[in-house]
Each structure stands twice: as C-alpha cells, then as structure tokens.
Symmetry: C2
Subunit: 348 residues, 2 copies
Amino acid sequence: MLEDKNPQRTPVSQLGEFGLIDHLTKGFDIKHSSTLKGIGDDAAVLDFKNKKTVVSTDLLIEGVHFDLSYMPLKHLGYKAVVVNLSDIAAMNAKPTQITVSIAVSNRFPLEAMEELFGGIALAAKVYNIDVIGGDTTSSQKGLIISITAIGEANEDEIVYRNNAKENDLLVVSGDLGSAYMGLQVLEREKQVFQVNPNNQPDLDAYTYLIERQLKPEARTDIKELLEKLEVKPTAMIDISDGLSSELLHICKQSNVGCNLFEEKIPVDPQFIDVCEEFNIDSTTIALNGGEDYELLFTIPLEDFDKIKANPNFTVIGHITQASEGVNLITRANTKIPLKARGWDALDA
Amino acid sequence: MLEDKNPQRTPVSQLGEFGLIDHLTKGFDIKHSSTLKGIGDDAAVLDFKNKKTVVSTDLLIEGVHFDLSYMPLKHLGYKAVVVNLSDIAAMNAKPTQITVSIAVSNRFPLEAMEELFGGIALAAKVYNIDVIGGDTTSSQKGLIISITAIGEANEDEIVYRNNAKENDLLVVSGDLGSAYMGLQVLEREKQVFQVNPNNQPDLDAYTYLIERQLKPEARTDIKELLEKLEVKPTAMIDISDGLSSELLHICKQSNVGCNLFEEKIPVDPQFIDVCEEFNIDSTTIALNGGEDYELLFTIPLEDFDKIKANPNFTVIGHITQASEGVNLITRANTKIPLKARGWDALDA
C-alpha cells in the first residue's frame, strides 16, 4: 500500500479543552438507566437503586505500561478500558460506566486522539458501558490514560479476595502466559525493525499471542456463566500481574495456603511453541507473565461436578491450611514455594 | 534553620507496588457506612441505598497543573483532593469517597510520597471522606495525580448547569481572583530566587493570596448553608477555570443570557493591592483568573431576601433571555460581551 506522505495533523489546541471533549465523545450514547447524567456537568450522576456500587481505577503511562511503537492507538484505547472492566468482573459485578482522563504532549495531533477514542468507544460498545465523564489535558511527555470503572452488583453476588476456605478448588478461566509471549514477539520485531526498517515481519505464527497482548478481553461473561452453573466463588481476583502474584494475594488475604499443579495450568499450543522458540520455560511465564486478564477464583469442593466439563474453566489446584504455604507441585511431583515475580509497575 | 544535608531518601522501588500502597494508606480509616470495602481488593464496594451516586475525575500533571518549586508536596496532595471535591459540591452533593492514583519518576523518594499522602490524608480528614482505592506506578517524567471523587445526594437535591431561568439571580460564594494573583506572586519569587538564591522573600503582604493558591478549600459547606436558608439553586458550577468561562457554561447549557455587574464582583482588599502592584486590571483577573474553587449559582428572584444578608454570598447579576447575550456591565455602565479567557489546560 502506498503511504500517505501527508497525513492530516490537526493540533489538539485548535479545539481547546472543552471543544476537544465535545468532539471526542460525540458518538458516546448513554445505554444504562443507571446513568442519570453523563458527560457535560461538574460530575456524572448515577442511580444504582438497591444494588451496590463497585469502583476501580487504573493509571496507564506511555513508556511504562505501553509502547506506541507496536501498540496502535485504537488498540490502546480498547485495552485501557478492558483492564479496568476486568477489575469489576473480578468482584463478580457487572461493569456499567467508566470515566476517561487523557493527558497528551503536543506530539499527538487530533487524529491520534480520535484513534484512541475510537478504541475506547468500541470497548464501550462491546462491553455495553457508558462513558460518563473525563478530562483532557496536556502532558509534558507522552500519553497518560486514567480510567475509573464503575459497576453494580447485588450485595450477595459480590466476591472478595479474602474468603477462600481449606479444600476449596482453585479455578482459572481461559489460558495463561500468551499475552506476555505476545509482548516478547513484538519487542523482538521492534528490535529487528530498528536494525532493518525495510524488513517485513511475518507474524502468522504468533497471531493468538499478539492478539492476547494487543487486544485482551475482560471476562465479564464469567459472572453469568457461573450463575447458570449455580456456582458462587468464595474468592476471586483478576490475573493482571501473573498467576503467582494473584494466588499469593488470595492466600494472604484469606489466610490460607494452596497447592497449584504445574501440569494443570492451561496454556495454548502456540504459547508452548513460542516459548520453545525463545528458549524460555513455559511454566515460569504462565505463572508470572501477567496481562492475561483471566479470572482466578476458588469454589467449594462440592461444586466440582458443576464446572468440570465446562471448557471455560480449568481446576488448577486446591486450598490448604495457611501453615502448608503457597506451593507449586511440579510435573516431577516436587513441592516448590511460590513467590510473586509478576510484573511490578514500579520496576518498569 | 540549619539544613539537613543528608535528608533520608528511600527509593520507592524498595517497597514494591503493593508495599507502597500499603505503606502510604496505612492511616486511612473508613468513616462512612456507605463504604462497604475500601482499599485492598480488585475494586471498592459502596452502598448509597436510596441516594444517587455522583462521580467526577481530574488528572493533574507536573509542569502543567503545578510547579513543585513553590508547591510543597503536602499542599499539592491537599489541593488535588480539594479540586475534585469542589466538583461534587458543585452538583449540590456531599462528597464521601475518593480514589487516588499516582505516577512518579525515580527522582521522588519514599519520603516525598509520604509528604504527598500526608496532604491527601489531611484533606480526607478535614472533608470527612474515605480513600477507597488507587494505584501507584512509575512515570517517565514528573509526578502525575489522578483522583476520582464520589459523592451522594438525594435526587431532588442535585443541581445541574442547565436549569437557570430568566430573571434568576446570579450568586457567587467567597471572593474571586486571589488564587491567580497568588500564583503570580509565587512565579515572581521563583524568578527572583533563580537570579539570587540567597534572597529571602518577604511574603507577608501576600499571605491570603498565596494561601488561596497553595491551600484552596472546596465549598462543601454551601449545600448545608443553602438548605438552612431554604434556597435551592436552579443551576450551579464551580469556579475552576474563571468566572467568565463558568458563566458561559451555565448560559449555554441553560440557553439563557445574563448581565454580570463589574462593581458587584467580590474581591479581597489584598487582591486589589497586589493587582495595583503588578499593574494588572483587577476585573480581568477576577473574571478570568481561575482556581478559586468558589461556587457560582443561580437562584429564583423571590429568594433574594433569604440570602442578601449572608456574608458567604454575593449577588453579582441576573439571568436574561438568551438573545441578550452574556454581558459584563462595567462600572461606567457600558455593556461588554463576555468571552471565556480562562485558563485552558491545553494551552499550558
């Protein structure tokens, strides 16, 4: 395809702060009856009636949480919403609204902001949520995205991290590790590109991994799935920093231990191939990779029959007494204490 | 005072992300029965029962919204909370919770974060709000603060911007312009300091202005004040970008015009003195200065007697038909159309 040598670049300052918000949020319609007032006043007004309000917030910084050299802005907007909705899903609540604040340096023209908000709008549509407020401002350096997600749930539906019980089963949705290996593939291609900008990467063997990294989905479907199966988790968390790290959170806050079985950890065949190609231990990545946005939860042992045949779920271990510690049981049947080696935003 | 040549500088990374949040939020107790779960899970859980939920969010960027060369970190933490609570107050709602996300570059040691959170904790105490969540991460450059404020109100208490009616009175709380002139004084002293670091500034003549800039307060008291007076505003907004800008918002969204009387705009005597010293027109600053965090609202004409003797309020004009436009009536009795010249974050 011929490259457009003169892409349109409208300076954001041309619209002013209020003009920019109006312009970027034009297509954002209100879908929920709980949204009494969205964008356009000092604050949004919501009405959850007899339900509880669930609130989570995340701050994403260019160069720390994302790299625009391989993350298209539309994907970034989509992912920024997804990572917040994942936190609401991890409470077993239904996400309903978000606020979006953006700071950009003057290297971003209006067209770039339109791309970013295109991704935000798409996520809002796919996940059926209202964008109810936000803020746009300038930054000294790079792009900064702050999203607050709001959801609703009946009080008896909400699942915290601190109620896992001895003998509960440890269950995970989807598969793990692929988002991290997708990032490794993209990082490698970036380095190849820097050496030889004319090299056309062939990424066919990595499509699943790259999609898991660039366009993750939040498991907002799990709440309904579990309701249909008549299973209520005792504890739940989303896997953003890696399975080990999240498991340690559940065990610490529930004051329990656990045995996690290496052979049970669900991974994709493409993930295994690429770990071999990169000569990386796949279990290490599945345990510590992060950014999977799957849900990790515990259920009573007697509910095993209800979920065992469901392709969305894998039982990966069980809860023990706190004194037994948090352990990985390897394929060779040795017991190794788990440590969090997940991605730490402060080391990035 | 002797300077400590070796102030303690603990790298933030020493604690890790979770350790840092635990450390910084240790003293934050939960005060509201509406906070079912605060910090420590994937999301906070709130219960407003039959009240409505009010949500506002703001993103503050070093070098754009604040300058740490004259803004102490504790004041910054306090102010970051206040500017968000002001938005909740402007809905005639009661602020109850905030989330706080912080990104810092490695130039900030743990002790700096403790200062910042000290200011946040003080504001939470003064305004009786719960800190229910947040996020700490690293930034590529400078300090970034994102706060989401949440409040509650009965549906019939909430005041929007779009309901001002012809003949309504235009009322403002407190006085205007001082925060902006406080900033001018601080900017001047910064320049003096850069030329001669040994110069000790004498800021006695500017204490009120500097306090308005460095430690503003949110008018969360106005809701109760008006209730006691049995006055319900028809429209309300907080003055963050300047009186002109906010007045234009109310008039545009309510589809009305207004006459604002120059001689009625409330200002402090210290403000007048400093405008003279700086040779700046005081009305221009009172109209466009911004960061006052006072409330601007409209009330029915028949409520005039209820508020006329109250020292918290000044009637500064009245609402007209939209066709008459948004005008300043000068001391010389000439009519000048008002334009927003308020501080625009995108020009900063």
